[in-house]
């Protein structure tokens, strides 16, 4: 059963050219940042083959950067992979929402699955009907996959040719990518609190715990904030109306 169309879109089918244009815009812009990944992977000591294998087989940017960062920091392969997998879990939730809209047969799903990432989901979920959804998904997936892999290769080779990547400031590409991915996620107070707590937990535990472990500890910020939120909501419902008022005030301020 297809999901209902988002309210910004009228119920009628958009022209195919408009869907293709939107999908290509996203695919090209994000696909080019495979270059930053190639450079970062090279700076972390990965070979050309290893960097390209990651882009071909993992194909979910944040997880790839996380894995490379953890390996560079000397984490063991399993803690490094755990962080990357944690970041990848959000793709399962995209899949849940996409599967109804795309309506692929069981035989097609194993192939479509590899392209289920932030960008393809964003384009697909914005489409009002199955035909546009499939078109948007395919064009975004294809253009992004092709470019991401080509620019990964170019990035590793380029970094090797440059020699000292740090002199060129290329070691700042990884954290900058995280900043660019994180920014749009910080809309509510809970999201900001989670980000702040996660960063603090990491910085406090980094000198104390073995490599890879601090990131996993920092992920506890998510359940911690949810728990605190739930507790506050419970006290609020059993409280005087005056507190509800102030709570609403802060919530509105937090929601931009």
């Amino acid at each position: 059963m297809p999901s209902p169309a988002p309210p910004v879109h009228p119920a009628k089918t958009p022209p195919r050219s408009a869907v293709v244009r939107d999908a290509l815009g996203v695919g090209v812009a994000v696909g080019l940042s495979g270059f930053a990944f190639g450079v970062t992977a090279s700076g972390a000591g990965l070979t050309v083959l290893q960097a390209c294998a990651l882009s071909l087989l993992v194909f979910t940017g944040a997880s790839q950067f996380a894995l490379v960062g953890a390996l560079a920091a000397g984490g063991n392969p399993f803690t490094a992979a755990a962080g990357a997998l944690f970041l990848g879990t959000r793709n399962a939730f995209y899949g849940l929402r996409l599967s109804g809209l795309l309506g692929y047969r069981a035989a097609v799903k194993p192939f479509a699955a590899h392209w289920v990432i932030d960008e393809t989901s964003a384009v697909t979920l914005a489409q009002p009907d199955r035909r546009s959804a499939r078109l948007g998904f395919t064009v975004t997936g294809l253009s992004l996959y092709a470019l991401w892999n080509l620019t990964t290769l170019a990035g590793v080779l380029g970094a090797e040719a440059l020699g000292d990547t740090e002199a060129w400031g290329l070691d700042a590409a990884g954290p900058a990518v995280f900043v660019a991915l994180l920014g749009p996620m910080l809309k509510t107070t809970a999201e900001r609190a989670t980000a702040g707590l996660g960063a603090v937990l990491l910085l406090v535990t980094l000198p104390l715990l073995p490599a890879g472990a601090p990131v996993l500890v920092a992920s506890l910020a998510a359940p911690a904030v949810l728990w605190a939120d739930g507790r506050r909501a419970r006290t609020r419902t059993g409280d005087a109306p005056s507190t509800t008022e102030t709570e609403n005030g802060t919530r509105e301020a937090g929601a931009r």
Binding site: M1, A29, S33, A36, Q50, L54, V58, F59, T60, A62, S63, G69, A73, P77, F78, A80, G83, A84, L85, F86, L87, R90, N91, A92, F93, Y94, G95, L96, R97, L98, S99, K109, A113, H114, E166, A167, G169, L170, D171, A172, A173, P175, A176, F178, V179, L181, L182, E191, A195, L197, G198, A199, L202, L206, P207, A218, S219, A222, V225, L226
Partner: protein, 102 residues
């Protein structure tokens, strides 16, 4: 060898997670608590990873030119610069600060 193990585990795991999402019947993971946790986990992880790669060499806390570069990236993001420009600004500022002896 360690690197290949990590690549293998990540590739298989990330693929299975994506495929699982398409397979599970809609509604199975629609509980609001699960949804909220799924939305907040990447936020916590990305913030932690940003902090780790900005303020450390992996084992020790460390302040160097990257801090200026990532700070510039945050400013670029607040000014609504596109994705690639945000990354380019961070790289350019970091390189600039290093060239000046930072």
């Amino acid at each position: 060898m360690n690197v290949w193990i990590a690549i293998g585990v990540t590739a298989v795991g990330c693929y299975l997670v994506k495929y699982l999402g398409l397979l599970v019947p809609a509604g199975a993971l629609e509980r609001p608590l699960v949804q909220r946790l799924a939305a907040l986990l990447p936020v916590a992880l990305l913030a932690a990873l940003t902090a780790q790669e900005t303020f450390s060499d992996g084992h020790h806390l460390l302040l160097d030119a990257r801090v200026a570069g990532v700070g510039a990236a945050v400013v670029a993001l607040l000014l609504r610069a596109p994705f690639l420009l945000v990354v380019a600004v961070a790289v350019a500022v970091t390189a600039g600060v290093r060239a000046l002896g930072g």
